[in-house]
Structure formats: structure tokens, C-alpha cells
Amino acid sequence: MRMTVSSASDIAVAETFAGIPAMLGRAPDLVVRGRMLSCECLLGPIDHPFHVSIRDGVIVDMTPAPVLMRSWRFAFRASSAAWMEYWQPMPRPGWHDLLALTKRKEAILEGDLHPFMTHLQYFKDLLALPRSHRGEAA
């Protein structure tokens, strides 16, 4: 197994993340918003993120890290607790936005932020997709 997870919440978060490409496939408006975006990024739990390949707004590959010599432009990683809170249908104050998570030091944003900032709302909405899909993703 290439990925090791240590707790039930880590497993739940990893499973939910694995479902995001399919959720994006059912969100055509979001794909349109990302139509000019193609990049490699690292998204997910701090210790067990995924390499995500985006082409024209579509996730074409998502593989658990680490992958030998795979590069990425930016990374957004958060604690499992932060993802669970962020995905609540009505998240609590301070847990409801990606940059609220970085401000409270529950998430780390690093690398070349240009693709993240040019498509900030895309990434906020992409990573919030499990809010409306919790039942089917869990």
C-alpha cells in the first residue's frame, strides 16, 4: 500500500478526496470556470496529500503522494480535522474558508501560488464539493 493512514478520520478524508474528481464531473459550471486552468498541484491532508493534475479545469489524474520525482506548482494541505469541518453542510466560523484555515494554522499553502490565486474561487469551490456530496462520498 503506497499510502498509510492512521485514524478513522484520516481514512474518511482520504476517501472523500478520492471522490472529488467524480464530483467535479457533475459540476459543469465549475469546470467552465476553470477552463483556462491546467496545472499540477498537491491537495489534501497534510501527511497524505494527493498529486492532482488539472487540464482545462478537469481533474485528469489524482494519485496519492509520494510519487517519485513528481513535481507540483502549489500545495494546499490541511489537517484531517480541518477538512472534516470545512466539509460540514454549514461549517463553523473560522473553518468555513480555505484562507480561514491557513489563518488559524490548520492548513498550509506553499509553492508558486499563481495558479491558485488566478483561480481562487475555483479551488475554494472544488475543495468544498464534498459539502453537498457527503452522503455519497462517505
Binding site: P93, H96, L98, K103, T118, L120, Q121
Partner: protein
């Protein structure tokens, strides 16, 4: 409601600011105690349109919202040569006072949100006797920065999109979708570098730590209200600030974020109407004392 016309009236007033004439757009409705409303950084007076059309409040208050120069329908001054816009504390306070003078307002109430809330604290420190009361929404003496403002104005990033996307997280998730979209639309429409220029006041020039303790609430009552979902100016920031001001009133507003008046007007009304009632009653009892 085809044909319905709102009671808001919009006009331009000329005001001298920094030794130069400025053509300031403002909207108003109602009669009574002048209530001047200040918009947030990078937005404009449209944020106040729901308060402006509040029939009950307009019976007792002359509600006025103006667009700061460079914002909304208030253009940059004629002398502008394209230099980077930067709002300073001195220029912001001067603009508010010049606007109030131009309209000959008698001891207005000033209510500001975000940078408007911060400058209200400045007014309380420096000019308390000119105002009947001051209301700071999402206001604090200081708050920790959470992003690099250089992203707001660079040729390779769409300014409107990035400004709106950054502040979108400051809106409470309970806010109605239409009100959320309208709040963000103002950010998408801002001029290049204007949001960033406003934040110069917020981030660099407007630190009031160690100064708010001197505010005299007997000279001018002060009310601070902050939304629980505001992670830019957090409830903790506001409560800390209020604790340093003897006699300040402080409220944490549930299910609201950084733009209470525009992101969820009905929820905001539950909090602001009692404050305005209190100011009105205080104003009445002052008049009786004088009489």
C-alpha cells in the same frame, strides 16, 4: 413589481479634499438624525441599499451612503495622473469630515464597516464631539493580515476575480445566495488597485493599538458589532478593542460575516435596529435636558 420606484435619491455633492474639489456621489432616504454610512474597502455605497430603503428606520433617520473617491460613481479627482492610489488615515478622515460639512450635517451618526469601522475609531479618538454616535461594524484597533495584498493588483491576475474570491470567504454560509452574489459583484467592479489602495490604510497606516483607550464615550457613544464568520476582523479582535474603551457597547452578530448590511440584510437589521433606537432615544433625552 413592474414600475416600482425605490425612495432612494442619488446626487453629487462637491467637496474640497486635500485642497482640491471632489465630486462625490451619495444616495439618501429618510428624514431626521443624519446617519452617514461608510462602505468597505474596494466596494461602494450600494452595500447600504437595504438599510436605505428601510421604511421604519427612514422615519427617524436621514440615511446617507456616499462613494469614496475612486469608488462606485465617485471618480478620482481631476489631478489624478495615474499614480498608485493609496488611502491614508488623514485623507480618509478628511474625506468624511468634508462630506459631512458639504451636506451641512448637524452632529451626524457615522456607521462604517471594515475600513469604515476602523476610521470610526479614529474619529472617536480625534473628533468625538462632532458626532452624535459612532458605529463600527467589523471594527478593531488592529487585526492580523491573512494574505499578501500585492495579489490584488497585477497584470497577470484578474483583479475583479481575485478581489471577489478573496473576500467571498468572509461572507457567512447562511447568507442568501443573491445577497452573497451582489456583495461580491461590487468587488468585481472595483477599479484596478483600489481595494489594494484602501488596504494601505488598514494594514500600514491605521494601526490603533494603544490609542483606543483614550476614547471618551461620554463625549460620543460608540457601538461595535462584528459578525461571527468574519475571520479578517474576528469577534475576538472587536471584543478586545471594546474592552479597552470604557463605556463601549459590543455585540457579536450570529450568522453574519464581514459585510453584514449587504450579505444578509434581514439578519443585520435584527442587530442594528436596536442600536439605532438607543441612539435615537439618547438623542431625545439630550434634547429634553437642553430644553
Amino acid at each position: 413589481m413592474n414600475g416600482a420606484i425605490e425612495p432612494i435619491v442619488g446626487r453629487y455633492v462637491h467637496a474640497g479634499i486635500g485642497g482640491e474639489n471632489h465630486r462625490i456621489y451619495f444616495e439618501e432616504n429618510g428624514a431626521g438624525i443624519p446617519l452617514v454610512c461608510l462602505h468597505t474597502a474596494g466596494s461602494d455605497g450600494r452595500q447600504w441599499r437595504h438599510l436605505l430603503t428601510d421604511e421604519e428606520l427612514a422615519r427617524h433617520f436621514r440615511i446617507i451612503a456616499f462613494d469614496m473617491p475612486w469608488h462606485g460613481k465617485s471618480n478620482p479627482p481631476e489631478s489624478w495622473d495615474g499614480a498608485e492610489y493609496r488611502l491614508t488615515t488623514a485623507r480618509y478622515a478628511e474625506t468624511i469630515l468634508a462630506f459631512c460639512r458639504a451636506l451641512k450635517l448637524d452632529k451626524p451618526v457615522v456607521m462604517g464597516c471594515s475600513i469604515g469601522g476602523r476610521i470610526v475609531l479614529n474619529l472617536a479618538i480625534e473628533q468625538p464631539r462632532q458626532f452624535r454616535a459612532l458605529i463600527g461594524l467589523e471594527a478593531a484597533d488592529f487585526q492580523a493580515p491573512w494574505y499578501d495584498t500585492s495579489w490584488l493588483n497585477r497584470p497577470d491576475v484578474h483583479g475583479g476575480e481575485v478581489c471577489a474570491a478573496l473576500v467571498s470567504g468572509l461572507i457567512a454560509p447562511q447568507s442568501p445566495q443573491a445577497a452573497r452574489a451582489e456583495t461580491l459583484w461590487c468587488y468585481k467592479q472595483g477599479g484596478p488597485g483600489v481595494f489594494k489602495g484602501d488596504l494601505y490604510f488598514y494594514r500600514v497606516d491605521g494601526d490603533l493599538r494603544g490609542r483606543v483607550e483614550g476614547i471618551d464615550t461620554a463625549a460620543c457613544p460608540i457601538y461595535l458589532l462584528t459578525g461571527e464568520y468574519d475571520f479578517s476582523c474576528t469577534p475576538e479582535d472587536t471584543v478586545r478593542t471594546a474592552a479597552a474603551i470604557k463605556g463601549a457597547h459590543v455585540t457579536v452578530m450570529e450568522q453574519l460575516g464581514h459585510f453584514p448590511m449587504s450579505e444578509n440584510p434581514a439578519q443585520f437589521r435584527r442587530y442594528i435596529a436596536p442600536v439605532l433606537d438607543q441612539i435615537r432615544n439618547h438623542s431625545k433625552s439630550d434634547k429634553q435636558k437642553v430644553g
